[in-house]
C-alpha cells in the first residue's frame, strides 16, 4: 500500500453509552468534546482529524448505542453514519468489564462486513473487580486487533493508532435458525441496490422492523420491493409469538454469551482497598461526615422555622448536636453492618448510599447546601461583587480601587498587602470615550447607559455577573456528573417526575437549569419523547430559577427570615409540580419508560473537571454573550422609543391593584426579561425605598420574588426555546407564563393578607 491512508478510509468510533468514546476521540484528535458520565449526552456527531496516523484521516465520534438496529434518536445517528457511502475503519470502544454488551455490537459490525479494531477500555476497573479477559483467545476467535486501554490515563492510545490501519472484519457469524435464515436470504435477493455494507446486515435490520432504514431505502428501491420485504417478514413472523427483533436479539445474546465465557478468565482475587484506608473510611470518615450531615440538617431546619418560635442558642445547638449524634450512629452502624455482610468497595458503598431510599435525601439536601454556599454565596456574592464593582465598575464614577489583604482564618486577623488603584474598565473606557463625544450624546448612552448600555449593562452583566456564577456552578455540576452522582439522582426523583409527565432522566436539564436555564433548555434533547421535551422546556422557563437569580433571591430573603425563604421554596416547588402535573394531563402522548444505566461511583479526576468546566464556560460565553448584547440593544431601543414606559404604564394597574406592589416595581419586572437577577435587585431596592424607616414589608417582597421567579424567562432562554421548540410553541409558553405568574402572585397576596 503506497497510497496514503487518508485517501482510503475514515475512522468511526462506535460503542455502548458511557464507555469512553469521547475521551478516546479527544486523545486521537486533540480536540475536546464534552465528556459526560451521564448517558445520552453526545447527541451530535463530532468530527476531527486523527493525529499520528499517516496523512490526515478523518475521525468521527458517534453517540453511544446499545444496538445498531436503532431504538432511539442517538442510536439512529450512530447507525446511519455506518451506512454512509465511504470506506471506513471502525474503532469499537467497549467497557472491558462489560465485555458481553460490547460484543453484542461487534456481532452487528461483523454482519455489516466492516473492518474493526476492538478497544477494551477501563482495563484497570476490570482488574480491580477481580476479573480478567484472555486477549489472545479473543483476538484469535474474533480475528481482529484487540487493544487494552485506560483512556483517562492515556494508556493504549499509541497501540490503537498502530492497529487502526490493520483493522479486519470480525470472524463472527450467527446462525439465526432455519426460518429466519431463509427470510434473510430471500430479502438479500430482492435488495438490488448497491450498498457499502453487507446485505445480510440490511436484511436482518429489515426483519427487525427497522423503520428508519425502511424510510432510507424508499428512494433506492421500488414500492413493490418494499411490499415484498414486508410480506416476507410477515410470513416469518407468523411462526413466532414474539416480535422477530426480539427473537433475533435473543439468538445474538446467546451467541455472545458463549463467546464471553470462552474468553473470560475465572475470578481471580478481587482487589481490596488497603486496610488502613478502609479503617479510616469506616471509623473516621463515615461517622464524621454523617455527624456533620445530621448537625447541618438540623441547623437548617431550626433556621427555617426560626420565625415560628423563638429558640435560645443553647437549645438549638443542643438539638443540632443530638441530630448529628443520631445521624452519625445510624449511618456508621448501617454502613458497617452492610459491609460485613458483603465485601463491598468504598465506591460501591457510596454508590448505594446516594440512592438509598432514606439516607439519600439528607445527603441530597447537604449537597445542595454546599453547592449553594459555593455558587450562591461565594460565586454570586463575593466574586460577582468584586467583578462588577471593582473590575468593571461604572463609566461615570470611579470604583475607588480595592485592597489585597491576607487574612488568616480562625484568629480573625488580616494583613494588608497593597492597595490596587484600579477604577474599573468601564470607568476608563468611559473617560476615553468622553474625549471624543460628550456623555449626553446618544452614542455614549448606547454603550454606557446605566440601564441599557451595551458595555455598561450587556457586556458587564454577561462577564462580571453571569461568568463567575455559571463558572462555579459548572464546576459543582462537573463533580456531580463525573462522580456518578447525577444518574443516581435520576433514580431518586423518577417517581415524582413520573407525576409531572417526565421520568428520572429529566433531572439533568432540571439541575442544569439551576445553573443556566438557557443551556438546560438545549439539553432537553436527551429526553425520549416530544411531550417530555415540551414539559421540561416549559418548567425550566417557569419554575427553575437560574443561579444568578437564585443567588440574589436567597440573599435577599435569607436576610429577612428563614421562614420566608422556606415559603418561597415551597411555593415554587408546588408550582413546578402543579403545572407539570397539569401539562402531563393536557398534552397528548404516552409516558416513556425509565431505563437507565448507572455508571459506577468514581472519584472524579480534577483535571478532567477543570477542562470540562472551561469548555462549558467557553461555550456559554460564545453562545450567551451575543444574546445578552442583542437583548441590551433591544432594551436600549425600547427605552429610547418610549416603548418601555408605555409597557410600564400598561402594566402598572395590575402590579398596583392586583399584586399590591408599588408602581415603581413594574420597571423591575420588565428588566427581568433581560436579566433575571437584576429584576429581583431592582424590585428589592424599590421596596426598601418605599418601606423607608419601617423596613421592607416581607409579604410584599415574597409576592414580588415569587412573581419574578415564575415570570417569563430571560431573552437568551426565549431565543433557545424558539430554536428548540419552534416559534409557535415558544410563544404559546410565553403567553401562558406571563398571566400565570401574575395570577399566582395575586392569589399569594390575597392568602398572605389573611394573616
Amino acid at each position: 500500500m503506497s497510497q496514503k491512508a487518508a485517501d482510503i478510509y475514515k475512522v468511526a468510533l462506535v460503542g455502548n453509552p458511557n464507555v469512553g468514546k469521547s475521551v478516546i476521540f479527544g486523545l486521537l484528535t486533540g480536540k475536546y468534546v464534552t465528556v459526560s458520565n451521564y448517558p445520552g449526552t453526545t447527541v451530535e456527531v463530532s468530527k476531527g482529524i486523527c493525529k499520528g496516523l499517516d496523512g490526515s484521516v478523518e475521525i468521527v465520534d458517534t453517540p453511544g448505542a446499545n444496538s445498531l438496529i436503532p431504538l432511539s434518536e442517538d442510536e439512529r445517528v450512530a447507525r446511519d453514519m455506518l451506512l454512509e457511502e465511504y470506506d471506513k475503519h471502525i474503532v469499537q470502544v467497549m467497557d472491558a468489564k462489560n465485555l458481553r454488551r460490547g460484543l453484542l455490537i461487534t456481532t452487528q459490525i461483523a454482519e455489516m462486513g466492516l473492518p474493526v479494531v476492538l478497544v477494551l477500555n477501563m482495563w484497570d476497573e476490570l482488574l480491580d473487580r477481580g476479573m480478567n479477559i484472555d486477549i489472545v483467545a479473543l483476538q484469535k476467535i474474533v480475528n481482529v486487533p484487540v487493544i487494552k486501554a485506560i483512556a483517562t490515563h492515556r494508556i493504549g492510545v499509541s497501540a490503537l493508532l498502530g492497529a487502526i490501519p490493520s483493522a479486519k472484519v470480525p470472524n463472527l457469524s450467527i446462525d439465526y435458525g432455519i426460518l429466519i435464515e431463509e427470510g434473510i436470504s430471500k430479502i438479500e435477493k430482492v435488495l438490488t441496490m448497491d450498498a457499502r455494507i453487507h446485505k445480510r446486515a440490511l436484511a436482518i435490520m429489515l426483519l427487525s422492523r427497522d423503520e428508519a432504514l425502511e424510510d432510507n431505502l424508499r428512494n433506492k428501491l421500488t414500492h413493490e420491493t418494499l411490499v415484498e420485504i414486508q410480506d416476507i417478514r410477515d410470513d416469518i413472523q407468523k411462526h413466532f409469538s414474539n416480535p422477530l427483533s426480539y427473537v433475533i436479539n435473543i439468538k445474538r445474546a446467546s451467541f455472545v454469551d458463549k463467546l464471553t465465557k470462552k474468553v473470560s478468565i475465572a475470578h481471580i482475587q478481587k482487589k481490596e482497598t488497603h486496610p488502613l484506608i478502609r479503617g479510616v473510611f469506616f471509623y473516621f470518615l463515615v461517622p464524621l461526615v454523617s455527624f456533620l450531615v445530621g448537625y447541618k440538617l438540623m441547623a437548617l431546619i431550626m433556621y427555617l422555622i426560626s420565625a415560628g418560635f423563638q429558640t435560645s442558642d443553647v437549645f438549638s445547638l443542643a438539638v443540632s448536636l443530638i441530630a448529628g449524634g443520631i445521624s452519625a450512629s445510624y449511618f456508621s452502624s448501617s454502613v458497617y453492618l452492610k459491609n460485613r455482610k458483603a465485601k463491598l468497595t468504598i465506591s460501591e458503598i457510596l454508590g448505594s448510599i446516594t440512592m438509598h431510599p432514606l439516607a439519600a435525601f439528607p445527603i441530597l439536601i447537604i449537597i445542595l447546601w454546599i453547592v449553594y454556599k459555593l455558587v450562591g454565596e461565594f460565586g454570586a456574592g463575593t466574586c460577582v461583587d468584586f467583578f462588577e464593582n471593582k473590575i468593571f465598575g461604572n463609566s461615570l464614577n470611579p470604583s475607588g480601587g480595592f485592597d489585597i489583604a491576607l487574612s488568616i482564618p480562625f484568629i480573625q486577623k488580616s494583613y494588608h498587602v497593597l492597595h490596587v488603584d484600579f477604577q474599573g474598565f468601564n470607568y476608563y473606557l468611559g473617560l476615553l470615550t468622553q474625549k471624543v463625544i460628550s456623555k449626553d450624546n446618544i452614542i455614549f448612552e448606547l454603550f454606557f447607559n446605566e440601564q441599557s448600555g451595551l458595555i455598561q449593562v450587556g457586556l458587564t452583566y454577561a462577564i462580571a455577573i453571569v461568568f463567575p456564577i455559571v463558572g462555579f456552578f459548572f464546576l459543582a455540576f462537573g463533580i456531580m456528573e463525573d462522580s456518578g452522582y447525577l444518574p443516581r439522582l435520576a433514580v431518586m426523583v423518577d417517581k415524582v417526575f413520573k407525576q409531572i409527565g417526565l421520568n428520572g432522566k429529566a433531572i439533568l436539564p432540571m439541575v442544569l437549569g439551576l445553573g443556566c436555564d438557557t443551556m438546560a433548555t438545549l439539553t432537553t434533547r436527551i429526553l425520549n419523547t416530544k411531550k417530555e421535551r415540551i414539559i421540561a422546556t416549559l418548567l425550566l422557563a417557569l419554575a427553575i430559577p437560574c443561579s444568578a437569580q437564585l443567588g440574589v433571591i436567597a440573599g435577599v430573603l435569607g436576610r429577612i427570615s428563614g421562614i420566608y425563604f422556606a415559603l418561597y421554596a415551597f411555593i415554587i416547588c408546588t408550582q413546578l409540580l402543579f403545572v407539570g402535573y397539569l401539562s402531563s394531563k393536557v398534552l397528548p402522548g404516552d409516558p416513556s419508560d425509565f431505563l437507565m444505566e448507572l455508571p459506577p461511583f468514581r472519584m472524579p479526576k480534577l483535571s478532567n473537571i477543570f477542562i470540562k468546566t472551561f469548555y462549558r464556560v467557553h461555550w456559554f460565553l460564545k453562545e450567551a454573550v451575543p444574546l445578552f448584547m442583542i437583548g441590551t440593544l433591544a432594551l436600549f431601543i425600547a427605552t429610547k422609543l418610549g416603548v418601555l414606559s408605555f409597557v410600564e404604564k400598561m402594566g402598572a394597574p395590575v402590579i398596583k391593584n392586583f399584586l399590591g406592589l408599588p408602581v415603581e416595581t413594574t420597571h423591575g419586572f420588565i428588566l427581568g426579561f433581560l436579566r433575571r437577577d437584576y429584576g429581583a435587585v431592582s424590585i428589592f431596592d424599590t421596596l426598601q425605598e418605599k418601606g423607608g424607616d419601617a423596613g421592607i414589608d416581607p409579604k410584599q417582597l415574597l409576592v414580588s420574588l415569587v412573581v419574578i421567579t415564575l415570570f417569563i424567562p430571560c431573552l437568551a432562554n426565549f431565543f433557545v426555546m424558539i430554536k428548540e421548540q419552534g416559534a409557535k410553541n415558544a410563544f404559546l409558553m410565553f403567553a401562558f407564563i406571563l398571566p400565570y405568574s401574575i395570577l399566582i402572585g395575586g392569589i399569594l397576596r390575597i392568602i398572605l393578607q389573611q394573616f
Binding site: L71, D95, R100, N249, A253, V491, M492, D494, L595, L598
Partner: protein, 216 residues
C-alpha cells in the same frame, strides 16, 4: 347434599349472620325468594343443617361447612365475572347466583388460583379460603414471578419478558437483558435497580413488572 333451594337458604343465613345479626325465622322467610320456603327449611332441619330454637335459626357444624363453600363459590364467581370477564354489576349478581350451584371443587380451586386467591368479593365481603389458598400461603412465593416480587439482594434468572410494547422488548434485549441472564436486585425503592454482571441498570416499576424471573 342440599339442593339448589336449600343452598339459597344456607347462603342467606350465612350473610345475615355475617352482618352480626341473629337470624329470625320470620325474617328469613320474608327475605328468601323461593317457592315453598317453609318446606325447604323444614327439610334442612331434618337433615340437621340448621337448628331452630324459639324462632332463632342457627347453622349446625355440618350446615356451616356447606354454607361456607357456597359463599366461597358465589363470591369467587363474582370476582371472576367482575375482574376477568368485566360484566355489568347487575348481570354479575344474577349470574353469580347460578354459578354457586354448579361449580365443583376442582373448578372452584382453579378459579381461585387463577384470580390469585382473592380475599374479598367486589362488594368488599370476605371470601372464605379453600385448600388451594392454604397451599399457596405455605409456598409463600411462586416459582416464576415478576421482578417486582423479589426482595432486594435476591439473585434471580430472567425467565421471560411480557410486554405489549415492542419498543420496550427491543430496548431490554439490546441492553443484554434477555431470558437466561442472571441478575441481582440491588434495591426496590425509590426505583428498581438491578445489577447485571458489572452493569447497574435503573428501571421503573412498569418495566420491572414485565420482567419475570426465577430465583436461583
Amino acid at each position: 347434599m342440599a339442593d339448589t333451594y336449600q343452598e339459597e337458604i344456607l347462603e342467606l343465613i350465612w350473610t345475615i349472620e355475617e352482618e352480626n345479626d341473629k337470624v329470625d325465622k320470620d325474617v328469613l322467610l320474608k327475605k328468601v325468594d323461593i317457592p315453598d320456603a317453609e318446606r325447604h327449611i323444614k327439610a334442612l332441619v331434618e337433615e340437621s343443617y340448621i337448628i331452630i330454637t324459639n324462632k332463632k335459626v342457627q347453622l349446625t357444624k355440618k350446615g356451616r361447612v356447606d354454607a361456607r363453600l357456597i359463599i366461597r363459590r358465589h363470591r369467587l364467581a363474582e370476582r371472576l365475572l367482575h375482574d376477568v370477564l368485566e360484566v355489568k354489576e347487575d348481570t354479575m349478581d344474577s349470574s353469580a347466583c347460578k354459578f354457586e350451584h354448579f361449580l365443583d371443587e376442582e373448578v372452584t380451586a382453579s378459579i381461585c388460583t387463577l384470580l390469585g386467591h382473592p380475599v374479598s368479593c367486589p362488594h368488599g365481603k370476605a371470601i372464605p379460603s379453600g385448600d388451594c389458598c392454604e397451599k399457596a400461603n405455605k409456598e409463600i412465593r411462586p416459582v416464576v414471578m415478576p421482578l417486582t416480587e423479589l426482595r432486594s439482594g435476591d439473585e434471580a434468572r430472567i425467565s421471560y419478558i411480557v410486554t405489549k410494547y415492542h419498543q420496550r422488548l427491543d430496548k431490554l434485549s439490546s441492553m443484554g437483558l434477555v431470558p437466561g441472564v442472571q441478575i441481582r436486585l440491588h434495591q426496590r425503592q425509590p426505583t428498581y435497580v438491578i445489577q447485571m454482571g458489572e452493569t447497574q441498570i435503573a428501571l421503573d416499576s412498569a418495566i420491572a413488572q414485565s420482567i419475570y424471573v426465577r430465583l436461583v
